[in-house]
Symmetry: C2
Subunit: 359 residues, 2 copies
């Protein structure tokens, strides 16, 4: 079967031939339909993140997948059922995090990540997976099933942010998304369409002609150009916000978030920057966190419950939004197009196959 | 009646004569028994924090009080009932925070604080208060009732820290208190005696001969001398911890807390430092927060529910601990002793009166 893999140092993915996997007991065989591409894939390709499976000389990419069960292999799944696989897997032996269904809370070394850390991904015509890591998705959503994984990341982030404020009466009226990439835009759409937050803002560094800026404004949010207004200046330029969602990986944003927050607000960080030393007014930030009961937290990955919530969220996102967000779905023979960046590119996916009757 | 007040610029408190207050409708008249002194009082005296009541030329000090109801004045309280007053009051008009019983979440400008911000405190032979801000305390605990307010601060901090981790399975096994002042020691005792945390650490900058170091060790905790081991070095020197409680006001500690935390840990900040610029590895801190699901939050003040919890906690603290913690309770005629710092001073209070039968 065909797969899209990357060799360390190659700097770009390649189409490779691999044996079709055989499901072990408890595993189902899944025929892959579509796999989305995100910033993590580009980091893996560039060699900045992730690592090879033990003994392998290349890594099959892909962690945002949707497929159809080809062979249930005695599991509770049914042939023809559409499924989205979760990403983390136990590192050989299981551990407490997997046992309680919280692999997203496992520290480094206690998990593999398919397509990223030590385990092949889903960019292959067929994949196998334990049934417990396959989440059923309604047929009508399968076409966009590759958006479930990124949405699940935000489901977790929002769940944790809300938990942080659960000891008192807190209803966010305003939210700010830092970053207008696909994850930022999906989260902005969740804030606008699902969580019904009154006023939303999205910070980016794109000219107003860029399609993502139009998307931000079509969602009803206010676009903030970071080249004109810094995160710290947002309270003066617009208003202090109850919730900040950071998806830029720009380390200064983590600290400026404290300035952007209204009293009792929470900032949730998702970016993964490299080491970077800079000066902060640590006294002022510390004081501001305390005197205004502010919180800052990081979250990574997501668990099965977040995938289930994400499927529900996906069903509520407006069709015009996902139509504009997904700027390209490419067949396997033109997969290189899906990895290209460009001024009109927002979110892309590779299509390995379509369901029997088409999407 | 006599009161202890401070004039701006005086730099030390003075005994003054004031008219005995008359309770308004809904208020009770309370005869003050004991009032504790903490770092905030010293900041108010030094003029670094707080402000005068409108029109006043001096501020009656004191926010850690216990008293006895002298005149219920038609409220639900009974004469002779022991009570601890809460600290925040509405700024003239009420607001949403007071209406829902969460004055601790009110932003600056939306509250007064008795003895600190714009309202006279409790260091007077008699005080009045709306009955809703007086929390009943059992007679046998009245002697130490001045510890309820500081404990309530930690009740809130711990409640918020635990809420932050409520979206997943989290049981802290290790905790680190930054600061071996009275608030740090009370919190350490809560961790050891009430929350039953397995292994606790307390960071200070005192020689081993200091009585607080003995207290730390008698509680079963490990003392960490910050002059030998920085907060960031604690994971290597001891172990990474699930919970950090910062009560030093040293701004670098807020950032070093991220290093000291174990994966999925939470740091709760209570110090109120002045502005201070310094360099941090913001990239590494941001990355560490995200990849290990860490959280950092500030909390300030406490509400009535926290005072009630604090009374329960006080009843569970070992007697030997409170005996060693409270190094001096001084009568009104020697009140200046209570404000003195010294190598053998930990926690002090001024005694305005004793109950009819004595404590």
């Amino acid at each position: 079967m065909k797969a899209i893999a990357v060799e360390p140092g190659a700097g770009e993915p390649a189409l490779v031939e691999r044996p079709r996997p055989e499901p072990e007991p408890g595993e189902a065989l899944v025929r892959t339909l579509r796999v989305g591409i995100d910033g993590t894939d580009h980091e893996v390709i560039a060699g900045h993140h992730g690592n090879l499976p033990a003994g392998a000389d290349r890594l099959v990419l892909g962690h945002e997948a949707v497929g159809v069960v080809e062979e249930p292999n005695g599991t509770e799944l049914e042939a023809g059922e559409f499924v989205v696989p979760t990403v983390r897997r136990p590192p050989g032996r299981s551990n407490e995090f997997f046992e309680r269904g919280e692999p997203d809370m496992a520290p480094e070394g206690e998990y593999l990540e398919r397509g990223i850390v030590g385990a092949h991904g889903f960019m292959a015509e067929y994949v196998t997976s334990p049934a417990e890591y396959l989440v059923s998705i309604p047929p009508e959503l399968a076409e966009l099933g590759f958006l479930v994984e990124p949405i699940s990341i935000s489901e977790k982030a929002i769940e944790h942010a809300v938990a942080t404020r659960s000891a008192f009466d807190w209803t966010p009226e305003t939210a700010l998304v830092l970053g207008n990439g696909p994850l930022g835009l999906l989260t902005l759409a969740m804030f606008e369409s699902v969580l019904d937050i009154d006023r939303t803002y999205c910070l980016g560094r794109r000219d107003r002609s860029h399609p993502t800026v139009e998307l931000v404004e079509d969602l009803g949010a206010t676009y903030v150009d970071s080249r004109e207004t810094s995160v710290s200046e947002i309270p003066d330029a617009h208003e202090a916000v109850d919730l900040v969602y950071e998806a830029t990986g720009h380390a200064k944003h983590a600290f400026e978030t404290v300035d952007a927050l209204a009293p009792n607000g929470v900032g949730v960080l998702l970016g993964v920057p490299e080491p970077w030393e800079f000066e902060v007014d640590g006294g002022r930030l510390h004081r501001e966190l305390v005197l205004h009961n502010k919180a800052l937290l990081g979250t990574v990955n997501s668990h099965r419950g977040h995938f289930e919530a994400a499927i529900d969220t996906l069903s509520q996102l407006p069709e015009w939004f996902t139509d504009e967000l997904v700027t390209g779905v490419y067949d396997l023979d033109e997969y290189t197009e899906a990895f290209k960046d460009g001024d009109d590119v927002v979110k892309t996916a590779v299509e390995f196959d379509a369901p029997a009757g088409g999407f």
